[in-house]
Amino acid sequence: MSTLHVVSHSPFTDSRLDSCLRICGVNDAILLCGDGAYGLHNAALQTKGVKVFVLAEDMQARNLPLPDWADSVDYPGFVQLSLDYDKVNSWL
């Protein structure tokens, strides 16, 4: 069972991203969107071996560079991601 974790809160304002990383399984992935895109600054994301995606428009709106360990997706890509994984868990 794989899960796509959607994180939209900035990692600088709360610990959702850390909590998410703690429970991420090896088949899971994280989609960063909104201020959650600032999670690209968190190098710990790459060391967990979890796939990391970021919503392209939110990354561009914040002028964040795309690291080589993350992939960017547009909305059709978001829809496809939600189908590639068994469940989608939004960290509301």
């Binding site: 939209s8 809160h9 900035s10 969107c33 909104g34 201020d35 919503l55 547009d74 909305y75 059709p76 978001f78 829809v79 496809q80 939600s82 189908l83 469940k87 989608v88 939004s90 960290w91 509301l92």
Partner: protein, 130 residues
């Protein structure tokens, strides 16, 4: 594939716009949306009394147009709506309130509709927070 989409945020929150763009992309990709469910502050995304500054996007209006254009099953949680003053004509009459700010294409109903949608859909996607 079948999607159920739950919106937990008001129209002025970026996540409401993300939910709308996701819903548009899902339909454009040939998928089906079995139900949109507006819960908690999401009921404000369905209010027709929202007034937006001229230089900002009117997401509540865009939701209404999207739902009408595609004739989607769009449910607003009745308990969440009542406590936030989002009332249709029937509820305004029942509780003797002067304002009605919810009409077609929205429908007021209970949380069971979210559960039902989650069962009927292949994926339940929730949007909320910032």
């Amino acid at each position: 594939m079948k999607f159920a989409i739950a919106v937990f945020c008001a129209a002025h929150a970026p996540s409401s716009r993300r939910a709308l763009l996701f819903a548009r992309a899902a339909l454009a990709g040939g998928h089906e949306i079995v139900r949109l469910f507006f819960y908690q502050d999401g009921v404000y995304s369905a209010s027709n009394s929202v007034v937006v500054p001229q230089d900002e996007q009117d997401i509540a209006r865009q939701w209404r147009e999207f739902v009408s254009a595609h004739q989607l099953d769009s449910v607003v949680c009745i308990a969440a709506a009542l406590r936030r003053g989002v009332l249709n004509e029937e509820e305004a009459m029942r509780y003797q309130r002067s304002a009605v700010n919810l009409d077609a294409p929205w429908e007021l109903s209970g949380l069971g509709q979210l559960h039902d949608a989650a069962q009927a859909a292949d994926r339940l996607i929730c949007f909320g927070g910032p």
